[in-house]
Symmetry: C2
Amino acid sequence: MEVATLRIGHRLVRDDRVTTHSALVARAFGCNKLYMSDVDTSIIHTVEKVANSWGRSEFLIEIYDNWKEVIKTWKKDGGKVIHLTMYGINVDDMIEAIRVEAKLLVVIGAKKVPRELFDIADMNIAVGNQPHSEIAALAVFLDRVFNGNELKKQFGTASYKIIPNLRGKNVECRSGDNRLNL
Amino acid sequence: MEVATLRIGHRLVRDDRVTTHSALVARAFGCNKLYMSDVDTSIIHTVEKVANSWGRSEFLIEIYDNWKEVIKTWKKDGGKVIHLTMYGINVDDMIEAIRVEAKLLVVIGAKKVPRELFDIADMNIAVGNQPHSEIAALAVFLDRVFNGNELKKQFGTASYKIIPNLRGKNVECRSGDNRLNL
């Protein structure tokens, strides 16, 4: 399945950290692409640094001018547009119908998204009907889509390899270039 | 089960939005309490406003002086301390052992947490071994602990009630005081 995330409504500076978290979640939880508006380019550098240390995936970031154009293109290509919102139908009531799709565009927004997004989306999906966080919503939604398998996904050509530990911290350095400050 | 979250390593201003997201996730995903250090009190007001609109739960915020004291007290009371970190054991390999506990203190940190936390914690648990977001980690971890049931949890005395909708947006105002800007 091809899954991309579209982040809309970024507020400069105030939302930089939240957008960085969204980007890292999109990458770690199996998205192929993140579309974001013209935000601080340090976010792209952060993701690049993470990929250098912890492994390449097919994940890409693309900057868009107009979110409606992104949605239009996805719809034309047969993609389903899923808007994550507390006003939607509970994810667990729709996940089986969602899993059979070939292409998903997952739309997440900052505090308030344009009203028309609710009508443009093929599905408004709620990760619970309580307000919380688009980062959390994206993670739990992708976790449902990939049925938990994304948490054991392997990433290629990493500089470091974690040896999972119940206590303590253990990392194997593969590249000989041990810049990781543990 | 009694579950609290302890957030450590908050950096003033820079992390305010992320801490707000963490607080809202802790509330929405079934925690009883969030311990945080002396951060911007607007975070407490945001959670209070959310509770007024979307319902009361038993969720409380407590400000701590020393995170080690919080952990010590929980351990003394028989609570298990779970540190969420990419260096830990995959959550899906430990969740059955975790679910039988009566009291959990879930520790999440900003970018870098003190090294000793890895040794003090009863379990270092990874929501995947890739770097992403403590907000996402908290949400997915709590979702595993409560087996998805937290997404349909009812909250008491809300001013508004969402009528879940696949398209569009539908909210019932219960209090007559319709200040919600839809």
